[in-house]
């Protein structure tokens, strides 16, 4: 069951990112200019167009490593990164299971300047590794007395195995979808 959840989360992350890329291809101002520029290749107008050579690839060139707490997706994360604990950005390390409940935050992607909804699922049922990168960013978290807005919780509480291992960051939507 929990493997299914993990696969679902990964597929959701991929789908969200793919959707954004498609949107960037179809609707992006810069990519529209890129396409117009493409049509006009060879014409006299070509040199004056602000031509976007990325052709709508919105995520190319992220400067910050995904293993750094400064990576944009980790803006509201409280935990150890799974990609420094044997897993990846969106998948739990072998032997651990994705949490059924999670903390969800909003982070701005500096590449396209859009706000994304990020689900921080804990991976459960395995001891933490030594040397994993611990991040404590927690953007938009509120104090503990505002229970529903407080992230300092073991999100493995809804799993059979409640031991905390690490945290993944899965894209689940956009604020301005």
């Amino acid at each position: 069951m929990l493997k299914i959840i993990e696969k679902l989360l990964q597929s959701l992350d991929k789908r969200t990112e793919a959707r954004m890329r498609r949107t960037a291809d179809i609707a992006g101002r810069r990519s529209a200019l890129a396409k117009i520029g493409g049509v006009l290749v060879g014409s006299a107008l070509m040199p004056i167009l602000p031509f976007d050579r990325s052709l709508g690839v919105a995520f190319a060139g992220d400067a910050v490593a995904e293993t750094s707490c400064d990576y944009w997706r980790y803006c509201a994360l409280d935990g150890t990164l799974c990609n420094t604990s044997g897993g990846t950005l969106t998948s739990c390390p072998a032997g651990s299971e994705a949490s059924k409940v999670s903390w969800i935050g909003t982070c701005k992607n500096p590449t396209d300047n859009k706000d994304y909804l990020v689900s921080y699922n804990d991976c459960c049922g395995k001891a933490e590794v030594n040397g994993g990168t611990f991040c404590f960013t927690n953007k938009a978290e509120r104090p503990g007395y505002l229970m529903g807005l407080h992230n300092d919780i073991n999100w493995c509480m809804a799993n059979e195995n409640k031991g905390y291992h690490c945290t993944v960051a899965v894209l689940v939507g956009m604020v301005d979808a």
Binding site: L12, K100, V101, S102, W103, I104, G105, T106, L117, S119, R142, L146, M147, G148, L149, W155, M157, A158, N159, E160, V172, G173, V175, A177
Partner: protein, 132 residues
């Protein structure tokens, strides 16, 4: 649902993802081990005056940090998205939410227990609720 009501903030769907989906899930199914009921039977509550009062005192609603207008919009979104299609639904408006939230319920768990006992005796379906 009006768009002007949340033009300055988030859409009900985004507020649901940000404030509710962490526990109730992106598909509204909740988590029985985590003590989070599914949302598919919400219309059992919203079809009844005492149930409408309860919905506005659910801990996750009270602690959501949303405004009363945003709460109305999110509950309407949830009922329309996951509520049983065979049950009618009357939307919440700001005035009703203001009124219901101004009423004090001292023990929301007991209130729900009494409510669901009555629903069961009336032959209505109610979601699992693991809290003692």
């Amino acid at each position: 649902m009006t768009t002007s009501a949340f033009a300055a903030g988030h859409t009900p769907q985004v507020n649901y993802i940000l404030r509710c989906a962490g526990c109730h899930g992106l598909d509204g199914t909740g988590s029985s081990i985590g003590g989070v009921p599914p949302l598919g039977l919400i219309k059992t509550f919203t079809s009844d005056p005492e149930g409408r009062l309860y919905v506005m005192h659910v801990p996750g609603v009270v602690n959501s940090g949303l405004s009363n207008q945003e709460i109305a919009d999110v509950i309407n979104y949830v009922a329309q998205r996951w509520g049983s299609p065979d049950l009618p639904f009357e939307s919440f408006g700001l005035e009703e939410v203001n009124h219901l939230r101004s009423i004090n319920i001292s023990d929301v768990v007991s209130y729900r227990r009494d409510l669901t006992s009555r629903y069961i005796s009336e032959g209505k379906r109610v979601p699992e609720y693991p809290w003692p």
